[in-house]
Amino acid sequence: MASLLSQLKDDIRFSEGLSACMNCGICTAVCPAAAYFDYDPRRICQLVQTGEEQELEKLLKGEEIWMCGQCLSCKARCPRGNVPGYLIQSLRKLSQQSGLFIHSSEGRKQIRLKRRIGHSILETGYCVHPLMVEPETHPEQGPVWIWALEQGADLYRRCGSNYYGEGEGGLRKMAPGVLNELEAIFEETGGLRFWEAIERGAEELKLNQES
């Protein structure tokens, strides 16, 4: 099986993301993940820059790569033109592709995410739509949101949205043909295969938990 490093190198975001980090810390200074988690994008760049297989494997199995919020504030500032954010994207992709993601609690959450947002894309043509944002699991949305959901179509149509209706406008119901095209794209470009890899991970996880 090709080394982790060579697999990473196939991802264009890896070569774009890291040419030569000089350990200056400008990215971590403005990183919101570093302001909240015990996380340091500079350290990730340094570890990846060693190119050692165990370091990469530890990263791919670890929690750290899942803490980045992908706001890419680091890209604007890096004096060497590196992009820790891209690096994280390539690491996360490989972690899920290779199944190593199930070794970290944060990585395992990708399964939940896939089943929620991934399926929403193919079913509704939207990443997020009102019915997904259930008040029980989104208390932070506040009472107005609960009320808005209760009103549903009346409120949305009052504001000019189509609210799951046929035809034009916001939140319109996607024609089946459109969804098929989306699915075809996911099929053709490896999107579905990627999701299968995630599900394989979930399967393996279930086996481990049972044994």
Partner: protein, 356 residues
């Protein structure tokens, strides 16, 4: 048609009246050559005019400048002040010096001593130079030391919090200057101590990536700043400066040795602007003259990078001092003497050819 006025082959024209230009002129005139200095400003001295005290021993810049000027006057070297030579035209063996559309001089040999420019700190926008009044460059701080400019914080601020930012416009691909300007680190330490001398209660921070105290006795300055002046050195390049309460600044960096981001309120932020080329000759012209693509960050390229002294690949065109890259004053003076020897060598070879 340009007049084919006779060009005195022995005439040496020096473009730039800073320390490099003056020293080269002095050495050449001492060796008996007729020399002219073309300086774009109204006064000789270049950046030296703006400095307060010089590292590492705190010699007053005005004394050094005064001494140089005295010698230039003593040797009665003709000066063309306020003349910006922006174009060179090879005529036979000699040169024509153009300012815009007019020829301002002719010479057998031209020595470029146009020195460096300070990086325009406004281009490093995240530090807010030019936007926030409490952000100064190292040159501004020298002006403050020379009492030509007020302190950016009020008199009521007895214990000002002051930050120095290293590598501004140096080692930065995004600002188009990939090189290290070598002098900013030692300047920062010198200025940090100087500020503490003005405000003993001040707390001074230096945000560095690698402290390159390259010269003799510079490292001792670093230790002295830490122990005697209580300057705190934080290894992490400054990422951002934003306006906080009143005139104060809120800066962000990472202490890379602890692996944690850090915030700090400052009363003054000093940006150690790097040394960049002056682009005195138009970009196209340079390509014509130097025939090589402008290497590195645009300083004047020289033949045989490691050869002593410096001969620009075009016969009869030399370069002296910081126009070739960041250099300290001692290096500039040493380089000036080296260039003078090269010029003398070149002129002698011309005479030999002439007689043969």
């Amino acid at each position: 048609m340009r007049s084919s006025e006779y060009i005195n082959k022995d005439e040496v024209a020096i473009i730039g009246g800073g320390p490099a230009g003056m020293q080269t002129a002095l050495v050449l005139s001492a060796r008996g050559f007729s020399v002219r200095i073309y300086e774009q400003k109204e006064q000789l001295g270049g950046h030296l005019k703006g400095w307060h005290h010089l590292f590492p021993h705190g010699v007053a810049a005005s004394d050094l400048l005064g001494a140089l000027k005295e010698q230039v006057l003593a040797r009665a070297i003709p000066l063309h002040l306020g003349q910006t030579v922006d174009h060179l035209q090879k005529v036979g063996e000699g040169w024509e010096l153009w300012q815009g559309e007019t020829v301002v001089g002719r010479a057998g040999v031209v020595v470029l001593a146009n020195g460096f420019a300070l990086f325009d700190a406004r281009r490093k926008e995240e530090y807010g130079y030019g936007l926030y009044p409490s952000v100064l460059t190292s040159a501004d701080l020298e002006a403050v030391f020379r009492k030509e400019r007020p302190w950016p914080f009020g008199p009521d601020c007895a214990a000002p919090q002051i930050g120095f930012v290293h590598c501004v416009g140096s080692r930065d691909l995004k600002c188009g200057s990939p090189h290290c300007s070598k002098l900013c680190c030692v300047t920062a330490v010198k200025q940090a101590m100087a500020v503490k001398a003005f405000f003993p209660e001040a707390q001074v921070y230096c945000f560095y990536m690698d402290l390159r105290m390259h010269g003799l006795e510079y490292e001792e300055l670093y230790r002295k700043a830490q122990v005697d002046y209580g300057v705190r050195f934080i290894r992490g390049r400054l990422s951002e400066a934003a306006p906080g309460q009143g005139k104060r600044l809120h800066v962000k960096a990472e202490d890379t040795l602890q692996g944690r981001p850090l915030h700090l309120q400052l009363d003054m932020l000093v940006l150690m602007s790097g040394m960049v080329p002056t682009f005195v000759l138009e970009q196209q012209e340079r390509a014509v003259f130097f025939k090589e693509p402008v290497f590195g960050s645009g300083f004047v390229p020289v033949q045989g990078f490691l050869a002593a002294g410096s001969v620009v690949q075009q016969k009869g065109l030399f370069a002296s001092g910081a126009c070739k890259g960041p250099a300290t004053l001692p290096e500039v003076f040493a380089d000036a003497a080296a260039v003078a020897c090269e010029v003398e060598q070149y002129l002698k070879s011309l005479k030999a050819v002439a007689h043969a």
